[in-house]
């Protein structure tokens, strides 16, 4: 097998990796990816007071000119809402805070339960807010009762941007993975990009070959969980309720031409539950669903599962 280069690190409380087909360029590629992630974080993080989104939060009700990066991230998030008919809604910030997800997940896991309970407000059914976001000529307007959370789509967009930027700068094939959201650009290795698809270590695993320019995203109800008032919560909210979506799937993995699109459809599939299978089949999208008992359902041209290997059996 041809040699590759790779760099791994932690960011946004998850694993990040860059893999390149030119072994000597891994470090340069990693720097490009880090720069992209930093730029996205500086634009839209809701966990740091100095991000552009947080600095402008008080002015958004009246409309304010935002940077091209923040405009692109908001536009991308709204595209995801359109694609999923609002099942992925970037205006869930208040609801996530109400659920106790008010800081970086690493800090959330370390915070004593009683401290989080003090910050928890009442939850109630909500009206999806994404249609009320206005973005034109770089001016962003967000009604005062809404708080943007661009988390999921921003991570996927960062992967897409980073892979494209690294491939363009280095002239080789690049795979970028941020928390399991995978984007590729440039040429692929001779054997294709080899990706192990598996959420939790005990979940059924499958290895697939990802073609050049393709992307994968996995959404999980088993990770990023926390206890609130003794009840286990997960981070994917149903926009119609502002509450964690009913758990039908342990995880959903979607393949698409961009990580942004794959992430939107995998997240929406968690929200849609059983209906997601017919939705993705109708769209001809390749996806893999793992239900609560570990059974696997696939759509589109997703390859049939080969005998499962656990992650601890694989030599990386």
């Amino acid at each position: 097998m041809e040699s590759i280069g790779r760099e791994d690190w932690r960011v946004w409380s998850c694993d990040a990796s860059v893999v390149v087909t030119s072994p000597t360029r891994a470090r340069e590629a990693a720097q490009i990816v880090r720069d992209t992630i930093d730029a996205v974080d500086a634009a839209c993080s809701r966990f740091r007071a100095d991000s552009e989104l947080m600095r402008l939060a008080a002015s958004l009700d009246d409309g304010v000119t935002v940077s091209p990066m923040l405009a692109d991230l908001v536009r991308g998030a709204l595209d995801c809402a359109v694609l999923t008919d609002g099942d992925v809604d970037p205006t869930l910030g208040n609801d996530l805070i109400a659920q106790g997800y008010d800081r970086d997940f690493l800090q959330l896991a370390e915070t004593p339960l009683q401290d989080r309970e003090a910050a928890v407000g009442a939850t109630r059914p909500r009206t999806p807010g994404w249609r009320r976001i206005h973005l034109q000529d770089g001016v962003l307007t967000v009604p005062g009762d809404l708080v943007l959370d661009l988390g999921a789509s921003a991570k996927a967009i960062a992967a897409d941007r980073a892979a494209a930027a690294a491939a363009a700068a280095l002239g080789c094939g690049v795979l970028v993975s941020i928390g399991g959201d995978i984007a590729t650009a440039g040429t692929e290795p001779a054997t294709g990009w080899q990706v192990l698809v598996q959420d939790m270590p005990t979940d059924p695993a499958q290895q697939v070959s990802l073609g050049a320019g393709s992307a994968l995203a996995t959404s999980s109800t088993q990770k990023r969980r926390w206890l609130m008032r003794g009840v286990s919560r997960h981070h994917i909210l149903d926009p119609r309720l502002g509450l964690p979506a009913d758990v039908v799937w342990r995880s959903v993995t979607v393949a698409a031409e961009t990580c942004q699109r794959a992430n939107a459809m995998s997240t929406a599939s968690i929200v849609r539950g059983f209906r997601a299978v017919s939705w993705l089949r109708q769209l001809g999208v390749s996806a893999r669903f793992v239900d609560l008992t570990g059974r696997v359902v696939t759509t589109g041209s997703w390859p049939v599962d080969s005998p499962a290997r656990r992650s601890d059996e694989v030599t990386a």
Partner: protein
């Protein structure tokens, strides 16, 4: 002219008048409908903000839906080489 002939002439004139009026009314209605359609087109092209963009993209989404099964297959069975990446939830 006999009464019968006068009656026929009157009926003929009345028919012609009703026909002309009907034609005119239909023409007016068509013009009004055309004008309304044009105004709607202008309003749509002038609409600002994300709404127009969303409508455009919704149309694209449904187009994708119509292309069911036509998308390229981005994933294929692996040849069991060592994995280079791991897709999992985060």
């Amino acid at each position: 002219m006999s009464i019968r002939a006068q009656g026929k002439k009157l009926a003929s004139n009345l028919t012609a008048t009703v026909g002309i009026l009907s034609f005119g009314a239909a023409g007016f209605a068509s013009m009004a409908l055309w004008y309304q359609t044009e105004q709607a087109k202008i309003a749509a092209s002038n609409s600002s903000g994300i709404t127009g963009s969303i409508q455009q993209q919704q149309s694209n989404v449904s187009q994708n839906g119509d292309d069911s099964g036509q998308q390229p297959a981005p994933v294929t069975p692996s040849q069991n080489f060592a994995p280079q990446a791991h897709s999992s939830g985060s």
